[in-house]
Amino acid sequence: MTCAEHPASIQHVFTQIKFIMYHRYSIIRSIPLIVGIFMFLFIAPSAFSQTESVTIQGKVVDGTALPMAGVSVKVKNTTLTTTTDAQGHFQLRVPNKGAVLQFSYIGFASQEVVVGDKTVISLVLHSDDRSLNEIMVVGYGSQKKETVTGSISQIKGADLVKSPQPNLSNSLAGRFSGVVINNRGGEPGYDKSDITVRGLATTGSNSVLVVVDGIPGQVGGLERLDPNDIESVSVLKDASAAIYGNRAANGVILVTTKRGKTGKPTVNYSFNQGYTSPTRLPKMADAATYAQIMNEINYDANAAGGLNQAYTADQIQKFANGSDPLLYPNTDWIATVLKKVTTQSQHSLSVTGGNEDVKYFVSLGALNQNGLYKNGATTYKQYNFRSNIDANISKRLKIGLSLSGREEDRKYPITSADDIFRSLYRAKPIIAAYYPNGLPTRGLENNNPAVQVTDLGGINNNPTQVVNAILKGSYQIPGIEGLSADGFFSVDKSNTFSKAFNKPYLLYAYDPNTGLYNSNIVGGNNNKATLTESQKRESLITSNVKLNFVRRFGLHDINAFVGYEQSKNNLEYFDAQRFNYLSTQLPELSQGGMSATDYLNSGYSSNYTRRSIISRLAYTYNEKYLFEGQLRRDGSSIFAPGHQYGTFPSVSAGWRISKENWFKDAAGFFDDLKLRASYGSLGNDNVKGFQFYDNYTLVGNGFVALNPQVSGATNTIQPGVGLTKLANPNITWEVAKKLDIGINAVFLKDFSLEAIYFQQKRSSILTQRNASLPGSSGIVNPYDDGTEKYNPLVPSENIGKVNSAGFEGTLSYNHRGAEFNWGVSGNFTYAKSKVVFIDEAAGTLSYQRKTGRALNTYLLYNAIGLFRTQAELDAYPHVPGAKVGDLKYEDYNGDGVLNADDMTRTKYGNTPQITYGFNFNASYKNFDISLLFSGQAQVSQYVLPEAGSVGNFYSSWADNRFSQSNPNGTYPRVTERASNAISGGAYKNTFWLNNAAFLRLKNVELGYNLKGDFLSKIKLSGIRLYASAFNLFTITKVKDYDPEGSSESGQFYPQQRIINIGANVKF
């Protein structure tokens, strides 16, 4: 075969060359492709042997008048092509004046120019978001978007930097269909979003696998990556993720960082200054209201005592009029403790450039986030660097080295954010934060959040370092055309250090009898300082080798590889604690108390290994018929020998109808139309290891004994060994079977549409039996405190089954004009799960079963109003002890008795079934604007505030509570503790369930690009000024907290609204 006989193949290869050498918006990581291209490099020049009479010259620039290198210039319907050089110049001989030149560049709209009499043709190429020639990053490679057969969404880093959110996971919301993203809290350093692909699909872990630059589960993850370093983020939502077999069941997010480009060095610097404030805070009751509520609470316990058991009317009046701030304060704790606005700033600097043989991208970033607290200790600082270097060692051998590192410095007060917000919302308005003379009060039982937020009680310094190193190589094997080998070796390390010096400090209580302010010591331990240091070291070593075969035979394209990959995770942790410090000035482990009980330490380590054989075969015929098969065999040390391996195959196919001649004739307004489908099997091993044998663990605080024969002997903790896990020797892979049918279309040039139906059958779900186990069997799980540390006695078993299905769609329109360009895009996802099997008690009532319903629904009493009169109470079944003013629960089964049989399952849980987003972009001359709305629906969140004598009430409750004086109140009467109340936690009910649907302006950016000759005079190639915002406004029915939250007490660091201004300079 010679190339002359197959001009089409040359053309194809050239298209690929262009992708690799010059394109701006994608990164080629697919070594096979490179190898294939290089193979043709030697022979390509022969294609230019024919020449004609007219020579055309010209220059191509982009929208900012910068020269564009690597633009493909082709004479239509011929094989005559060239590309622009670094200055954007090109030269090409054309056969005649009637020739049409086609200019194309990845990510830009192609243009055609008739040659006519011109010999110089210069033009401006405009960027094009829906370009057909876009390259998609897929698992272990990349593909042209038009030949992709899986459901893969991709966003460019350029769009992500439009969000002022420093946490990358928050910048993804609303941008893709099929990806559900909820930001659960906003504490600097812990402000990430939960990400699920197509909602919940399993009762086990739903966490998505993050692959950064090809490293599955790279240490450090996604959220702390510098958005300025990101080339693109792809989400594999269907069976196309099966190429990551063992952990791909919940979907895969592929992050690709920027790499160097040929050309002179480009320096890019940007600075952002942000102003952050909570999206939403509850309004709390004032002192007079709360004092009145205390009276009502006392009345509940003892009606005979009357209505003024806690406070007289006179005292309440004093709370209201502020006449005696010492004894009768009225404190707005939120305003006292929290700032209205705080700041954040980001710097980013990058240099990129290179020649044919060596290309580089290096960057530096710095981020500084401040906490919301007044005089607060909370800050998050991040410094990061990245260096991506690619080199051609020879024509056959290429290597690449990626190094990145970052320092994450978290600093917090000793009291955690959850505890601070718990104190803050509990804190009573009848207590001042500070006495009029400035001394801090004891707040709520020595929790004074105004003091807790400061460094008075010490600081928790919590620096983390992450280093990721990847060495890649590829080698084009001589002898067989299209055969190449590649591989990588990567090392990830992270170090999390924590040093918390817990210092005692003084709070004061005013004694009105003596007029003295009595101090008492809070914090520390034993009224002395305590130091806790801990160190967690994590590492991941991954190695991979692949053999690739990429070759074109006529119209047949083959792209195949087989590879081997293995990884080893290691985690080492220890901590040390020292008590009874002489001085609060000596925060070192060496400086603490000297007695034996002043020392405490602990530690653990864990190792996990995985190994996999990976293969893929892709075949396309004339880019019209597309087939792909993937097969992967995975082993995981999470499981016992004999159960360690799983096999995960997938197939997909596509048919580009628009390539059929009959279709072109019939429906010419379609520029592209593709039908596609995929089906495959994916695995999940995301459970704790070593569940295949009975686990016995040392108990640190168990049985205590005393030697009675030794005088003066003290009580001593004895060695204790507890059973912590029963064995499941058969534990093995959870399996997802995913089916996906999609259509992609581009029509009327400017419209594009993607519509997908998906379904998933999840089986062998790794989950624990709980409800079905009778207590008398003795197999009883311990209390689930909801933390990561919870370790049920019962092992994970492959027992669950969940089906889920839904559809997603994206429709976009782009208008390009000379000066005014705009585009709008909308996406929508509906994902519904249905439990097929979950462990349930055999006797569960049919309407209370989880089986047959969506995942994570609530089981609640149905609140149908309030009992407003004794007659009403007497007339309807109620729970024992219910009084007038309590919630009325529906007697669901109509048996005349109100008990747990009347609870029903809610329709929705707190993961939305519907998510959607709208994106609007426009540019006019030097201005551009982008808006991103994101929303969710069919979602519920239960929040019962910790109110009562135990804590303050939301105003929404306090102002609308039922009481003798407010018989029309819409909220139930107040009692000692909402968590135990008949109208509260004792009978968990729908009154406290909110519709957490919302639509919010997630992101907006308005930019101005300076243009003009003066820029080049000052040696700048571009300046951009912009203002942006995150979570600017929200439309929701939820009143007291941000609807993205997941805390059932509402006590969490609130999500942030960010207003940002920034500048970007290129030179």
Partner: protein, 566 residues
């Protein structure tokens, strides 16, 4: 090109080296923080550590196990078991008021929902330990000790089950595993109360036969002894004879108590009634749980202390209990008693009153307690007034003044919890002997009369209450013994069970929960006005036994029979 070939070969080699761990056992990782069953089955030290860990139960609920996991019963927690009886109310509710108010339901058990699961979990693990013990290499003598210990723990778990649920499921030595049929009707077969008690008593007997009489260097204090097994058996046999259980004889109860008395090992602690509960090692404690730093219980002083001290007024004694304490002349505290002055109601009371209850004017720490209004520091006029008592009293028993009240974290919570002590044995004996023989007969094989046994307790140094005089009727003696139990064993998880087994709960638990409003007059005197501390107390017949948790009934697919009335 030649050079490049070499280089690439090198790189390929390097790649291969990187994969050097490409070995067969690459996936064979080891956990270094957990012990497999094979070690437990062969290493006697590990096995013994597993056995002693059974003295501790699993944590099954929120608001328990602050510092270390629960043992038997409830013990020291924020809300104590006393606050579901007429002894006290738990100021912050925490699901205790629903018990006081008769709202107890299979789906709404509050703190009382854990006994079933916790007990059976321990029973299963004891059964497993017995199966390992049979095959482990160990001296026969030590093996016998451990067998006694395991059976003791298992029997104590059954005692917990029986006194709460009545009819229990007997598991024998069976160890259920996940692979077994967990709908096996055997798991849900509730035996009669008598069968359950007979089983547990036999287990206690077997344990007593194997356990040592004394703790020693090799069998430290905290581990069960012969006396512990016999003492708990005495409690159980007394219950069996009681009206609610009606499954045994008073004679058997006499004999069981006498077995402990006859050990001649225990006595009444003469170091003070209050100190008894602060001292790790006394001749009176028969079986107790010890605590220490890093294995502590709730910080009692702040949890129960008055608001003016920075405490949280947790378990606050009721007027119902306060009224029970006699005057020092041995007569009730009422207007017919010459020692009683309504203006100074706390003076001249049984010294155990002041050792149990903190009252207005009582000396506590650096000052006197002020529960009076207006202006009392420990009243609603004091600081943190949401933490003030609703009854007018605070708990004194168990409080150790040497521990910090404020900011105590990690530095308090070391008092022993006495599971059973000799005074109870004497009271068990007295009650049974009175029922079987009357107040003044010495049962055969015994050395005391019922009256003498009670008087030994009243004669405790520092208590010195007048002896009950001879000639008292059997019925009056019954009343006296019940009163003595109420006073002597207050807050020790007896009252709840005693009023049930005597079948008087439908009276005592339907009485209002009373408190006292103490008003300081301008002349410095106090006026005492009774109040209701907690509205809506209610007790129905079904409440004699706890409901079995709804989840258990559902898990059994309704094979497990619920207690009547629920």
């Amino acid at each position: 090109m030649k050079y490049n070939h070499k280089l690439s070969v090198l790189i390929l080699f390097a790649g291969a080296l990187a994969l050097g761990s490409c070995k067969k056992d690459f996936l064979d990782t080891k956990a270094t923080d957990r012990i497999p069953a094979s070690t437990l089955q062969t290493d006697t030290a590990v096995f013994e550590a597993f056995v002693v860990n059974e003295y501790i139960g699993a944590r099954l609920q929120n608001k328990e196990a602050d510092g270390s996991n629960p043992g038997f019963g409830r013990g020291f927690e924020y809300s104590m078991w006393c606050s579901v009886s007429d002894e006290s109310i738990y100021n912050n509710d925490d699901d205790t008021w629903l018990v006081q108010r008769g709202q107890l339901a299979p789906e709404n058990l509050g703190a009382l929902g854990v006994i079933w699961g916790r007990s059976y979990r321990s029973i299963r693990e004891c059964n497993y330990a017995l199966s390992v013990l049979a095959n482990i290499s160990m001296s026969a003598a030590h093996k016998s000790l451990l067998e006694g210990e395991i059976k003791f723990i298992r029997a104590f778990r059954y005692l917990d089950l029986i006194r709460n649920y009545g009819r229990v499921v007997l598991m024998g030595d069976k160890v259920y595993n996940l692979t077994d049929n967990l709908q096996d009707p055997f798991l849900f077969k509730r035996v009669s109360i008598k069968e359950g008690i007979d089983y547990a008593v036999a287990q206690f007997d077997q344990a007593a036969a194997k356990l040592p009489l004394d703790n020693s260097s090799n069998w430290e204090l905290g581990r069960a002894t012969k006396g512990a097994a016999l003492a708990l058996k005495s409690r159980l046999v007394l219950y069996a004879a009681s009206p609610l259980y009606n499954s045994g004889t008073w004679q058997a109860a006499v004999d069981a108590a006498q077995q402990v008395i006859a050990l001649n090992k225990y006595g009444i602690f003469q170091g003070g009634y209050g100190n008894l509960f602060l001292t790790n090692q006394t001749n009176e404690a028969i079986f107790e749980r010890l605590y220490t730093k890093n294995a502590n219980h709730v910080h009692l002083e702040i949890a129960n202390g008055p608001n003016g001290y920075g405490g949280w007024a947790g378990n606050t004694p009721s007027q119902n209990l306060v009224d029970v304490y006699q005057m020092t002349n041995g007569l009730p505290a009422n207007s017919s008693n010459p020692l009683y002055n309504p203006a100074t109601p706390y003076a001249n009371r049984d010294p155990r009153f002041a050792a149990t209850v903190l009252y207005n004017g009582a000396s506590y720490r650096e000052r006197n307690v002020e529960t009076f209004i207006p202006g009392g520091k420990d009243s609603k006029d004091g600081s943190d007034n949401w933490n003030t008592t609703k009854t007018g009293y605070y708990l004194k028993k168990f409080m150790n003044d040497a521990y910090p009240l404020q900011n105590p974290w990690g530095n308090a919570g070391f008092q022993p919890w006495i599971y059973i002590r000799y005074a109870e044995i004497l009271l068990n004996f007295a009650e049974a002997a009175n029922e079987a023989y009357g107040p003044d007969a010495v049962p055969s094989g015994a050395s005391y009369t019922a009256r003498q046994a009670v008087n030994m307790i009243r004669a405790r140094q520092g208590v010195n209450m007048p002896a009950i005089a001879s000639g008292i009727s059997q019925a009056d003696m019954r009343t006296a013994i019940r009163l003595e139990r109420q006073v002597e064993l207050a807050f020790e998880e007896h009252r709840f069970y005693d009023v049930r087994r005597w079948k008087i709960a439908d009276v005592t638990e339907n009485l209002p929960m009373r408190g006292m409003i103490i008003t300081k007059n301008t002349d410095g005197t106090f006026t005492y006005t009774p109040k209701i501390a907690l509205d809506g107390r209610k007790f129905e017949t079904k409440h004699y036994w706890l409901p079995i948790p709804r989840a258990e009934i559902l898990a059994s697919n309704n094979q497990l029979e619920q207690n009547p009335g629920y």
